[in-house]
Every structure is written in C-alpha cells, then in structure tokens.
C-alpha cells in the first residue's frame, strides 16, 4: 500500500500539469495507477468502504482501465456519520450539498491536505478559462453564504473556490428570504462605478443570478457597463427550466445586463462530493476534464461507458480527496459524450454536455408499495 505522503506527492505532480494538455492514453495510464493506490489506501482506512470495494466484480488491483474501478453512488455521502478516511480530530471543514427542502444533504469531510488540493484544483481549472490574473470579485450572494465556518454549503464552497482570483470581494445581496427583493443596488453600483472598465470576476448560483440580479436590474431598467467581466455560475437549471428559461436565454439576458458578450457568461457543472473539480463550458459549449480527474458516461442498461454521441449516467473521478472516499462517484445526473478527444477548443480528452438530472426511480407495477400498512412496532405478535 502506498503511503499517504507518496499519494500526495503524485497529486501535487498532477496539479502541476497543464490541466487539459495530456493525451487520453497518458491521462488514463497515470490516473489509473494513482486511483488504485488511493483505493488501497482508503480500504486500509475505512472498513465499510473496503467491504464495498471487495465485493466489486473486478478487483481494483487488476483493473486495466479507470472504468473498471469501483465507484460509489453519490447518495452514499448522505450517511451519518459521513464517510471518512480521517479521524474526527483531523476534520477541518465539512461541506454540505445544496439539498432541496425535505432532502438529506451530502456531507463531505475535508482535512487540511484535501482542502488545500481542492482549492488548487479549482484554481488550476478556472485559470485555464479566464486567465491567471487576480481581479475584483463580485459575488451575487450574501455575505452569510461566504462560509467561514467549519460547515460550508455548496454555494459557499463555490464562492470560496474562486476567491483565489480576487483582489477584493463584494457581495451584492442583502441577507433575507430567497423570494424577497434582496439586491443591494447601492453597493452594486458603487462597485460598478469603481471597476467598470476593469477585468472583473462575477459568480453566483444560476437561479440566484436570474431571480435576484437579472430580474431586479431589468425591473429598474439598469444596464451595467462592464464589458470585461467573466460571469461564472453553477447550481443547476432545474428551477429555471420550470420558468422556461433556457441556457441561451440566460446567457443573452445576463450578457445584456452586464453589457458584455454572451461568451463571457460561463456555466460550470460541479458538486461538493467531487472536490476540487469543476467543469466550465468551453467556447464550443462542451465540458472538459482536467488531468487530476476523469468523467465516465455510463449506459444505464449496462453501466459500460457509452460511445461518443450517446447519453448516460455521469461518473466523476478525482484523484484529489484523501480525507473521504470520493475517488469515483456515480452521480444522479445525465450527460452526453460529445467526443473522447479533439474538441476544437484544443482541450484534450473527453468532452461532454450536461443533460439533466436522472428522474427519480419509481417502484412500478402492482408491486409498487409506497408504505407498509402498519408501523413495524404494531406488528410482530406471533
């Protein structure tokens, strides 16, 4: 079994590479070797995880491709206590996913080392899309979501992941209920006055930008004159789809409000469980995978990787986490593989497009039982 130090050395080495410059063959070979070492390490640290891995149809030590390695359904991180590879005394921060009402959020434990490589991972990726310079950072969110505590939500994690690019940061929403009018117009306009001709980074959750920012400014008839912004957003399209807002409409309206080209509005896919990895759209509308990660789109019928042009379940792999077993995760999202290499943007490896959430499985037929007839405590009398 490789030592943690050796694994961390290899992670640092991967983080030092150009994120999208490796050939698919080289990428597969290097990452497979590291993921095997990490699985072996994780099995020594978490016996439950080891029990799962040992029952996998292919022994991970004999796997010849990343697609054969065991993967965990992402819902397993809803367990309490959270799945971990470190003791509670080593946990520096717990990330929580953005579960909607009634759902149990995922909880991801980070130790100092994982938190550090997580930040590096995000910076490496984003730098490739917007350049390395630090710049003013406008956060379309409230200060309370910045997340300076031990518990950090998905929004806070995303906001904080981009803070390495910030010379200063300004939050332009008031705290309050999401349905309320919350845009702090005075603060926003002061920021715009100061930096309108500069390169500026903007981030917000997709539906927050739409409901609290774009709509509010349109109601006021305000158009910001900031042609050099990069507007990054994430968090999914479900709520906007319910309002029939497509990505094209969103990009056009956001660009119109900022007075910038629509190509400067960038959606990225990501989840707290896949720490340190985000998937921004390239200029061709495709998502790419950095050197320290992999994405496998699996056919729901066979769970084998799909051909280019086909859709399937998204599995995300990352070499970065060493504080929890998040190396290979089967998500509850769907995507289409555009190609396995050769995106015109020049980034190597798989390119894919997000295709929505997996509809919840319904137990079907006359065997569809929603509830037991009586609570367990009522029955049991022989």
């Amino acid at each position: 079994m490789s030592s943690l130090a050796e694994i961390q050395r290899q992670i640092e080495s991967l983080l030092g590479l150009a994120p999208y410059g490796t050939s698919p063959q080289q990428h597969e070979s290097v990452l497979l070797a590291l993921l095997k070492q990490e699985l072996a390490y994780a099995c020594g640290k978490n016996l439950q995880f080891c029990n799962y891995v040992e029952h996998w149809p292919v022994r991970f030590s004999e796997a010849t491709r990343i697609a054969d390695l065991p993967y965990l359904p992402v819902s397993m991180f809803k367990a309490n206590p959270p799945l971990a590879l470190v003791g509670t005394d080593e946990i520096r921060r717990t990330l929580t996913s953005s579960a909607t009402t009634g759902q149990v959020p995922s909880r991801i434990v980070l130790d100092a080392a994982t938190a550090k490589v997580m930040s590096k991972g995000v910076v490496t990726i984003i730098r490739d899309f917007i350049g390395p310079a630090r710049r003013p950072y406008l956060i379309i969110d409230t200060e309370e979501n910045l997340g300076t505590h031990a518990q950090l939500g998905a929004r806070g994690a995303a906001i904080q992941g981009l803070s390495s690019f910030a010379t200063e940061q300004v939050c332009c929403l008031h705290p309050g209920q999401e349905q309320d009018e919350r845009l702090d117009l005075e603060k926003l306009l002061t920021f715009v006055d100061r930096w309108k001709n500069s390169s500026v980074l903007v981030y917000g959750f997709t539906y927050v930008i739409w409901t609290q920012f774009v709509q509010a400014l349109r109601r006021e008839g305000i158009r910001l004159d900031m042609p050099n912004v990069h507007v990054l957003h994430s968090g999914g399209w479900k709520r906007l789809q319910q309002q029939a807002v497509t990505q094209e409409v969103f990009n056009r309206e956001v660009a119109s409000v900022f007075g910038c080209p629509a190509t400067r509005v960038m959606d990225f896919y990501g989840m707290v469980e896949n720490v340190g990895v985000v998937y921004p759209d390239c200029d061709y509308g495709n998502k790419h995978v950095p050197a320290f990660a992999e994405v496998i789109i699996r056919d729901p019928l066979t769970l084998a990787p799909v051909e280019a042009g086909q859709k399937g379940l998204i599995e995300v792999c990352s070499a970065l986490p060493t504080s929890f077993p998040g190396f290979s995760l089967l998500t509850e999202d769907l995507a289409e593989v555009v190609n396995y290499d050769g995106c015109p943007c020049g980034r190597r490896g798989i390119s894919f497009r997000f295709a929505g959430r997996v509809p919840k499985a319904e137990v079907r037929g006359c065997g569809n039982l929603e509830n037991l007839r009586y609570p367990r405590s009522v029955v049991g009398v022989a």
């Binding site: 016996l47 439950q48 995880f49 029990n51 799962y52 029952h55 149809p57 292919v58 054969d68 965990l72 359904p73 819902s75 397993m76 367990a79 799945l83 729901p300 019928l301 066979t302 769970l303 084998a304 399937g312 379940l313 089967l330 509850e332 769907l334 997996v358 509809p359 919840k360 499985a361 319904e362 137990v363 079907r364 037929g365 006359c366 065997g367 569809n368 039982l369 929603e370 509830n371 037991l372 007839r373 009586y374 367990r376 009522v378 029955v379 049991g380 009398v381 022989a382």
Partner: protein, 418 residues
C-alpha cells in the same frame, strides 16, 4: 373486422359506448359453459407464431383452457352453475347472476392482465369495459383479434368494450367508473388510489388487487441440500425474472433458516449462477436510468451498512443478490434485486408481515413445518402460499378474492311451496 380496441376521445363517447354495452349485456344471458367453450377455442387460436414472444401468452393459453377454469368456477359457485342452473341450499336454492357491467383497470406492467381480468368478468356473465393501458394496446389488440376470429356470433365480443384513453383523462375515467356495477382494479399504490377515488355508484362492487409485495422462505433442510439446490435456485431466479420483479407476486426477499451445517454463501453462489443463466436467457432490453441509480445505491448502502453484509452482482445492473441477516421485509428496489437474509426462525419473519405480503414462496421439506408456516402466513395477511417457482401462477383466489364470485350476485330462492 373492427378494431378490437376502441379509442375513446370524449365523455359522451364513453357514455354512449357503455350504454350500448349495457343493452347488449342485458339482451342475452350467457352461461359459463358457453363462455368456457369459446375460451377453449380462443386458447387454441392464441397458439400463433406472432404471439410466441409476447410475455405471458403461454400462460394465458393454459389459463383459458376449460380444464383450468372449470374447477375454479365449480369451486367458487358450485358445479350446478356451469350450465346456469340453481343449486340446493337446504330448503332454498341459489343461483349466481352477473352484477351487470364490470369495469376493469388493469396494471400496466403485465402484458396479459387486461385479458386475464376481462376473462374473470365474462365468466360471471357480465358485460365488461376494460381500460387498456397505453403501453399494452398493441399486445392486447393482437390477443383480442384472436377472440374476434373465433367468436363468430359475437357471444362474448358483444359484451366487451376494450377502451383506450389517456390516463390523465380524469373525465373519461369518471364516466367509465360512473357507469359500472363492479370494478376490478389492479396496480400499484398510486394507480389503485386514483381509481378507487373515482365516483363509482354506491352499489358498485369493488375488487382491488394490489399493491402488494412478496417474499420467499426456505428451511435449512431444503436450501442445504446440495443435490437439489440448483433446481431450487432456478425456480427462485424464474420468480425474480418474470415481470421484471415488478409484480405483486415477485419475491423481493428470500429468508433462509439458519443452519450450522450449511454455508449460506455457498447457496448464494449457486443462486448467482442461476441468476446468470436466467439473465442470459432473458436479458433486459431497456431500463430507466433512475432504476439503475437505485440498484447501484442499494448495492452500496447494503455493503457500507455492515461489515457482515455480502453481495453478488455483475458490473451491469442486470441482477443483485444481497446476503446478510435480518427478519424484516426490506422495501422493494425491484430491478432483479433479491435480499437473501439468514434468520433463526422463519416464524419470526412471518410474524412481522403486516398484510403487504401477498405471496409467500416456500421451499420447505418438512410437511409439518410447512403447515405451520402456511397457517402463520394466513394469520399475518398473506393471501397465497405456493412452492417456489410458482409464485406468479395466476389463479383464484388472488389477493384473497375469488375472481369470478366477486363479480356475481348469488340469488336465494325460497320456493313458495316450502
């Protein structure tokens, strides 16, 4: 030949068709012998190459045979009723008459269910309106065309309305429900609840089949017997595979009586081979991504949940065996996912059933033990206790309900001369 399935577009159309059906039903009386004669010919007609691949048609042919149905009719209503006669009940006499028009709402997951449900209503002498689920229209049409071909005089076909309309057309559902004297409702929790909520007349007889789940139990003597184990495992695999484990009679869990002499893992290995063979013979053609997620989820949560838990599964979502201990019925995952749970006492498992378990599949070598388990199962809400491998064999009673008798009125005549 007119289309065997009528597409209904509006409430007036449904009302009109149902009125015609009622007139046709009341105009003539049909006795079970005549129905059985036509069913016999229908069964023969179904032996057609184009139907060989339709799931359940082989069974439907057996079901419709006189040799199968006559004993059911005799048991439920007495031999005298076969020819429509009266039978003695002390000084009085009894005779069954149809309730009138019976509405059928079959489940969408079993290809032959519209016809099975219909066959029960017709045997009672009723007129029948069947709401054919959209996904089953092509298959049902093929099956009904065979009846049209052999029922030259329309003795039965005049009493049938096979209706198709979108499941969201509540107004048409309501029109159908409002015009029937009885209803046979099949399906899952949501479907059954929605149909039951329709405005049936106060006199309508309602027979509900489902939602239920099923389980299997084996005593140590049986599962430990190496020479017979392969055959038992084949039987279990067949029960899991049919209807893609979505039927109320599909086993979701197999409880094994613990034995110091036999290794449950060895048994699970044999079961794994049986699942592999059944999968090779009947591979899945499609799956919803959500079911794949659920299958992957239950595999992981099982193995992460306890270090003693074991599991067997291929890289695909084709099938899953979860091996461990526990006396409680797991909530179903479906998708050919079977929990195999070791228990000290099979009676303890059965004592925890709450009425949701419809069928108990048995692999029990000791007759006294079987008798005891069957009795306990009946007490705890189980409606069918059958040998493993036969869990889906449709018969009467089903869900504790007599299939023909439930849709007839039994009239008592006390002669004036008495």
């Amino acid at each position: 030949m007119k289309d065997a399935i009528q597409s209904i577009e509006s409430v007036p159309e449904m009302t009109d068709r149902l009125q015609q059906l009622r007139y046709a039903t009341q105009a003539t009386e049909v006795v079970p012998q005549a129905v059985l004669e036509i069913y016999d010919r229908w069964a023969e007609a179904l032996d057609d190459r184009e139907l060989h691949n339709v799931p359940g048609v082989t069974f439907l042919r057996l079901w419709l045979r006189r040799s199968n149905l006559e004993p059911i009719v005799c048991r439920e209503l007495g031999p005298g009723w076969l020819n429509g006669g009266w039978w003695k009940d002390g000084r009085a006499r009894l005779r069954a008459f149809p309730v009138g028009v019976v509405g059928h709402w079959p489940a969408a997951n079993i290809e032959i269910q519209p016809v099975l449900s219909l066959s029960c209503g017709l045997l009672g002498g009723n007129g029948c309106v069947v709401r054919v689920p959209n996904g089953l229209i092509p298959i049902t049409r093929l099956l009904m065309q065979k009846l049209q071909e052999i029922d030259h005089d329309g003795l039965l076909t005049k009493r049938i309305l096979m209706a198709s309309f979108d499941h969201s057309r509540l107004d048409v559902h309501e029109a159908m429900a409002g015009a029937v004297d009885g209803a046979m409702i099949w399906g899952g929790a949501e479907a059954v609840s929605q149909v039951r909520a329709l405005p049936f007349p106060h006199w309508a007889r309602i027979a509900v089949f489902g939602p239920r789940i099923s389980a299997a139990v084996m005593d140590a003597e049986t599962w430990g017997n190496r020479s017979e184990r392969t055959e038992w495992c084949r039987r279990i695999a067949r029960d899991v595979w049919q209807f893609d484990q979505q039927a109320c009679s599909s086993p979701q869990a197999l409880f094994l009586e613990r034995s110091e002499e036999h290794d449950a893992r060895e048994f699970a290995e044999d079961l794994k081979r049986a699942f592999q063979e059944e999968n090779a013979a009947h591979p899945r053609r499609e799956i919803e991504p959500g079911l794949t997620s659920s299958i992957c989820g239950v595999r992981a949560s099982w193995l992460l949940g306890d270090l003693s838990h074991q599991a067997f599964f291929p890289a695909s979502p084709d099938w899953t065996i979860l091996l461990g201990t526990g006396t409680e019925m797991p909530m179903p995952t479906q998708g050919r996912t079977l929990s195999v749970l070791l228990v000290d006492d099979l009676s303890e498992v059965i004592s925890k059933f709450d009425g949701t378990v419809q069928t108990l599949g048995l692999g029990v070598g000791n007759a006294r033990k079987e008798e005891m388990l069957a009795h306990a199962a009946g007490r705890h809400g189980v409606d069918r206790v059958v040998k493993l491998g036969r869990m889906h064999v449709f018969s009467s009673p089903w869900d504790g309900i007599e299939l023909v008798r439930s849709m007839v009125r039994v009239v008592r005549h006390v002669p004036t001369a008495d």
